[in-house]
Symmetry: C2
Subunit: 202 residues, 2 copies
Amino acid sequence: MSAKRDALRTKLIDAAERRMRANGLTGLRARDITKDAGCALGGLYNAFGDLNELVLHVNARTLDHLSDKIVNAREGLAPKDALLAIALTYARFAQENRTLWDALYDHKMPDNTDIPDWFRTHQSNVMAHVVGDLAALQPDLPSKKVHIRASTYFSAVHGIVAVSLQGRFLGLPSDHLHEEIERFVGYILSGSLGASEKKSAH
Amino acid sequence: MSAKRDALRTKLIDAAERRMRANGLTGLRARDITKDAGCALGGLYNAFGDLNELVLHVNARTLDHLSDKIVNAREGLAPKDALLAIALTYARFAQENRTLWDALYDHKMPDNTDIPDWFRTHQSNVMAHVVGDLAALQPDLPSKKVHIRASTYFSAVHGIVAVSLQGRFLGLPSDHLHEEIERFVGYILSGSLGASEKKSAH
DNA sequence: AATTGTATTGAACGGTGTTCAATTCTGTGT
DNA sequence: ACACAGAATTGAACACCGTTCAATACAATT
């Protein structure tokens, strides 16, 4: 009964993704998308409640795409090497899909309604890889703490990539990005493993 | 000859800062600002070329405010302790001035005109503290590399704070933010100092 | 007081996301 | 085949945004 509707939804997501890839999130116009998708302006609000909801679907695709890249890069690697591979893959993905990646962070929910659960799932799927390798490295650490450290690790790498790419605050030159990430991850891994977790036992 | 004009400029910046503190960057309306400042709508475009230019001035103030906080926190501390103090101060500032801090990163230049030099100076002033302490820790490192590492260090901390505060990707709970930053900085400092820089000599 | 130059005004413009009465389409019963 | 009801689609209209610029108010000089 909603096959037609779903077809329109994917056509709209396709069109929005193309526009976002080319012109970024700020260059996204409802009129352009619906024209590309071959429906009337109002059709967007039939398929989705909101333009923001459509953006959310494009972002979900981007996260899945990123997740696939991480799976490939991580495959068959020991946890330490896997964590480095994830970081470098994240950086490369951001560089190669700049506008789509920007939208992941530039997009804001209207008012301050919170992010829907179905979208959080896509975010978690990406983070799960970091969680997995970190858990393998520290098997005696409670799951909750593993998640917290995974978040810290992931967001630190993200910060390096983000500031480098948008060139704020001096801006790390993009040529040195991968080099700096390698050094940085080395510090983290040696710090979090080499000295071990003697204090945390208490 | 432009005393009147400068007075209007500061009145507009004041009004814009108040509005941004209350409603964030997305809640900023030219009509609200000019009403608060007591001038006509067009007056904004007399004092500034653009609404974006006005936002830039508010952001510059925010950076100066942050820089002051860092100076106070850093005062009289050894480089290692200073770097930790800077990170924690950055996190606390972000929490206490959430909307203004968000605007530092949410604001985008129109088209893709690049950030004016006078604004970059304010950014550099913040970063200078990190650069100083990092240079003190590694006196034999070329200045250019010190800047690159400062950028890496700063942006990693920024990433942790940013992801934690906006609660994306699982989202590190804000209660654990300072704790995680302490651990994290410990890793970095022990990694970058403890093992020393034997390889970099060649 | 007249005149010139400058600063300020706010109605008007183009472009945005969103709505909803009007229209077209679709499927069913006769 | 036809009529008809319910659902899907349309696109003109709306409210609101940043920005402009001719008209106005003001200031200074002669």
